[in-house]
């Protein structure tokens, strides 16, 4: 509770600052300039959200089981290599991943989704794996001590204890995803990158900002949504933010 009190002190100047910024932008005509592209912004934002949702959910659907399987004792030898591979994969720039995806699948929506899927897969698998391995040994021992099978142990002890770390991975993945979607424009995938890149090419600041601000807004929204999910879905006993 103490923390909250402090933050309310900070909120006031921030709000005043935001108001002044808004007034300045309105006066400078930037807002009108950006609204000129409103139709484009709406159309492209839809495409942007589509790309993020499809590639992000695919990455979650594939990444969670993959990370879980790799954390099982049976695969521990293989998983060392797999994690090394994933770690190296994470260092590849997302633009390069998109370019590779283009050389495999051509151009347009499908390769963009595939490239984004690969780029978001890595943090999810990694966090699922480390989260599950990080469950304290004494908890696992107690679980087997009271006669739980391996499956029960995974579902009732390991996963609940690892959810917080897993969610952190999903959050990172989706933030990277939203921020990478603009690059999908380059391989014909659409999204807000159209406004950003055309704005850069034509030296049209309003067009560029219309795309960039919307992208930033989306990234923040996605982050808040995932954080909200984590807050609600991670069990109270192992949730640092609800302790």
């Amino acid at each position: 509770m103490k923390k909250l009190k402090y933050s309310s002190l900070f909120q006031f100047p921030v709000l005043i600052g935001a108001l002044l910024l808004g007034v300045y932008l309105q006066r400078s005509g930037l807002i009108d300039g950006m609204l000129f592209y409103w139709e484009d912004v709406v159309y492209l934002t839809k495409q942007h959200i589509q790309l993020t949702l499809i590639s992000g959910s695919l990455a979650i659907i594939v990444g969670l089981p993959l990370g879980t399987i790799l954390s099982r004792p049976r695969f521990i030898k293989m998983s060392e290599w797999a994690m090394q591979g994933l770690n190296i994969g994470t260092t590849i720039p997302t633009l390069a991943i998109l370019a590779l995806s283009m050389s495999l699948l051509g151009i347009g929506f499908v390769p963009s989704v595939f490239g984004l899927f690969i780029a978001s897969l890595l943090p999810i698998v990694r966090n699922t794996y480390t989260g599950l391995l990080g469950v304290p040994a004494h908890l696992k021992e107690s679980a087997s001590g009271i006669g739980m099978s391996a499956g029960q142990m995974l579902l009732r002890v390991e996963i609940p204890n690892a959810t917080y770390v897993i969610f952190a991975g999903i959050r990172t993945a989706l933030a990277i995803n939203v921020g990478t979607v603009p690059l999908a424009f380059l391989i014909g995938g659409g999204g807000l990158g159209e406004l950003i890149f055309t704005g850069i090419d034509l030296f049209d600041t309003e067009m560029m900002l219309a795309g960039a601000l919307m992208t930033a807004l989306l990234a923040i929204t996605v982050d808040i949504l995932v954080a909200g999910c984590a807050f609600l879905m991670v069990p109270r006993g192992v949730n640092p933010s609800r302790a």
């Binding site: 151009i107 347009g108 424009f185 659409g190 090419d201 030296f203």
Partner: protein, 296 residues
């Protein structure tokens, strides 16, 4: 104390290097846009001027408007611009001119801004819409009017455009108005300049925005739809130099005009194809070209 001395000597060195650089001969900055032909022209001009004894810096790969502002601000000294772009995009000229009148008009307008259009080459790198030869034949489309009629007749044609053309004053919106057709948003795919060719070749789109001098048009068996309403102006490739740069380097205009005199559509198309189709290195292609013409 030792470290202080070291620091002092490093600082002196740094400062002397910074100001020493300014005192030396002025470098000429050669700019270029973000597609193959421009990369070729930038590389060609840089190598040619270096052989003539200039210090040359290159700034390649910018969008048209950015490059133009850079030149107006003096950050770029010379680059190759297209007459149509100079007229319509930078000077907002609405009416259409013939080849020579257009050149004279843009030369006159840009003179006031301290930019000099030298001798135009014979290469006309106009925008064009291309189709796969087989598909165009099957649909009986030869001209852009045929295309507009097909679209208005309910044919669902998908167009690949680059970022810039979609939003330019000589770009998609005025173009579709001139030919009297409308394409829904989801039938226009925007992508990087070089990819429209791939998209058309792979059959992902039916129409692609292309540059007339691109070597991939014959190589991939595309046909260019005839601009029967004369919507597109002439886009003669011309070296544009800042007046200040010319004043400082009195021989520069003659040297660049010599280069400009060697370029025409056949030459540009061949050089573009060597890079885009045969995958040869840009610097090598331009060096060979300069050597063949005894310029270096």
């Amino acid at each position: 104390m030792k470290t202080l001395k070291k620091l002092a000597s490093v600082a002196t060195l740094a400062i002397s290097m910074t100001f020493g650089g300014v005192a030396a001969a002025e470098t000429i900055v050669v700019g270029g846009k973000n597609f193959t032909e421009q990369q070729l022209l930038t590389s060609m001009t840089a190598q040619y001027l270096r052989a003539k004894g200039y210090d040359v810096d290159t700034r390649a790969g910018m969008g048209s408007a950015v490059l133009r502002s850079a030149q107006e601000n003096g950050q770029v000294d010379v680059y190759w611009e297209y007459t149509g772009t100079g007229l319509i995009v930078y000077n907002g000229v609405k009416e259409r001119f013939g080849r020579q009148e257009g050149y004279e008009k843009v030369r006159e307008l840009d003179m006031e801004k301290g930019l000099v259009w030298l001798q135009p080459s014979d290469a006309n790198n106009t925008y064009a819409l291309a189709m796969q030869a087989s598909e165009a034949k099957a649909m009986g489309i030869k001209t852009l009017s045929d295309m507009a009629a097909a679209i208005n007749g309910g044919k669902e044609l998908v167009l690949a455009s680059n970022a810039e053309w979609y939003a330019r004053e000589d770009g998609f919106r005025p173009f579709s108005k001139a030919y009297g057709f409308k394409l829904p948003r989801d039938q226009i795919k925007r992508m990087d300049s070089g990819l429209t060719y791939t998209a058309l070749k792979e059959g992902e789109v039916d129409l692609a925005l292309v540059f007339a001098t691109d070597g991939r048009i014959p190589a991939f068996d595309f046909v260019i739809l005839e601009d029967d309403q004369n919507f597109f102006p002439d886009y003669a490739i011309t070296p544009v130099v800042r007046q200040e740069t010319l004043d400082k380097n009195p021989e520069l205009d003659e040297q660049l005009n010599k280069l400009s005199g060697l370029l025409d559509n056949a030459v540009m198309s061949r050089l573009n194809a060597e890079v885009d189709v045969k995958r040869e290195d840009i610097a090598e292609v331009t060096r060979n070209f300069l050597e063949q013409n005894d310029l270096i």
